[in-house]
Symmetry: C2
Subunit: 295 residues, 2 copies
């Protein structure tokens, strides 16, 4: 199956489930509901839920879209948490991004106060959705995985270190920490969730979690490189933003050549972690997608 | 037992548990950890956890501090969610409060970006703590109760309506909605959590939830009255803030006398809901605490 077809078919069932979960509850909170939907349906690539589907279907040893129904709560929870983090990251006091995916950020459209609450509400909704999973043990394990990925040891911690590092001299270990936590933690959670729902063995979950961490870091290193030498088309946003914001990047700390070598090594490491697994074609496509962005 | 003694002894075990849960995880995120601890340990009265303990001990039909160990995860989760809501409410784009409990607000002390993340991290931590409850069914029920109380149908929804209502003419039903959701929802959750952990019957949980909603609304109506006619000492903050911020209050919509009558009626309704229950002395003291603030 072509990865494009895989993305289209899996996105399709995800969008329907997201629309269902984000049905407005009450007229009186309609502006808040609208802000949540605005950001969730603003053209995200759904990478995390689709990586999660792909991992589950690899474990299942067959691609079968009809078997994905029970995965929808966790798939939607992943996307809602990711969206919440983007809304809060874009705020003026954090990254101050007025645009996201080519349209005004949530706070530009709805005001800062509503954007802050929309982020809070999406985090809350993500957890609520996970409590709907029928099997209580799996439901709790999913909540544990997601909250760990969000916590001060995960995404929120990475963002906190990122904020403190702005306009400061940091070393490569700190930059690696930021990328691993801000991007890697939730990708790792996506694959761990698939393992928990499939009931995979512990060592498989650890291996796939490491695959996700390597892939997430590779993605960020490539992003750093594109910020230096890429075009708007490949990067999906204006290049040169990091240096203008005095943000440390892999090229600014290691130079361009060594950064490229680092990205290639991370992609090779990702590939090596899954190359002996059966039905790994979509996961390999994820590695190739990142590799193809490398200039 | 005097309510003062009850508060001191129960606060004491709560503080120890909060300190344990908020032990910093990693040097690299120390500023975020510090911001979380700063707001949690800034002199809050711990009303929600103590109402939760009192409800459980009433159901247990005896006051026994040694039986409260298993309640600590939910007690701490309640306080962390409450603190998160205060941090986000105080932000410049929301209520713009530079002080809280007589000291600088979290964002004044640590910056807005860290304050936003500290709120997010406290919400996440609250859910993580609830997953530690040994019995999976109870753990999941607690997460359901807490996330419902926080959601767009609860606290966050109330805050969203409050923001939209600022400097607008609203009616008494909208003001009632804001108070019920912003304050009542989490108090209701406190009592529902006690019922779930004790395994009380459904109708008891509904009755006690209604008690909490009435009490929370009464507290807010009294607060509105004190904002108009109270002193700094009784109100705990500078009076007159609401009218200066063009915020609707019960007295501004109903007049002072009718507001007092409303508060008295709500307190009577609260009392009537629990008056036939055994061992209700601490809950009655909660009603009296609110009544005593009425000028």
């Amino acid at each position: 199956m072509l990865i494009q077809e895989y993305f289209i078919t899996r996105s399709d069932i995800l969008e329907k489930a997201l629309a269902k979960y984000l049905t407005p509850s009450d007229e009186i909170t309609s502006q808040l509901d609208e802000a949540m939907r605005y950001s969730v349906f603003s053209g995200g690539k759904r990478l995390r839920p689709i990586l999660f589907f792909a991992t589950y279907e690899m474990l299942l040893e067959r691609k079968n879209i009809n078997r994905l129904e029970r995965l929808l709560p966790a798939a939607c929870a992943l996307e809602l948490v990711h969206t919440a983090s983007l809304i809060h990251d874009d705020l003026p006091s954090v990254d101050n991004s007025e645009e996201r995916r080519g349209i005004p950020s949530c706070h530009v459209k709805f005001g800062e106060a509503t954007a802050i609450l929309a982020g809070d509400a999406l985090i809350t909704k993500a957890v609520e959705i996970l409590t709907e999973i029928k099997n209580p043990r799996i439901s709790l394990d999913c909540i544990r995985i997601l909250t760990k990925a969000m916590s001060t040891r995960g995404m929120i911690g990475g963002q906190a270190v990122d904020i403190l590092s702005a306009k400061k001299k940091i070393n490569i270990n700190t930059l690696r920490y930021i990328h691993l936590k801000k991007t890697g933690a939730l990708l790792q959670a996506a694959m761990e969730l698939a393992c928990v729902i499939y009931d995979a063995e512990e060592n498989i979950s650890i291996t796939l979690g490491n695959f996700a961490l390597n892939l997430g870091l590779a993605y960020q290193v490539v992003d750093d490189i594109l910020d230096e030498v890429g075009s708007f088309e490949v990067l999906g946003k204006e290049p040169g933003q990091d240096s203008r914001n005095y943000k440390a990047t892999y090229p600014s700390l290691l130079g361009l050549e060594k950064s490229k070598k680092t990205a290639e090594k991370l992609l090779r490491d990702s590939y090596n972690l899954i190359k002996y697994m059966k039905n790994n074609d979509i996961l390999i496509e994820f590695v190739n997608m990142v590799k193809d962005r490398l200039p």
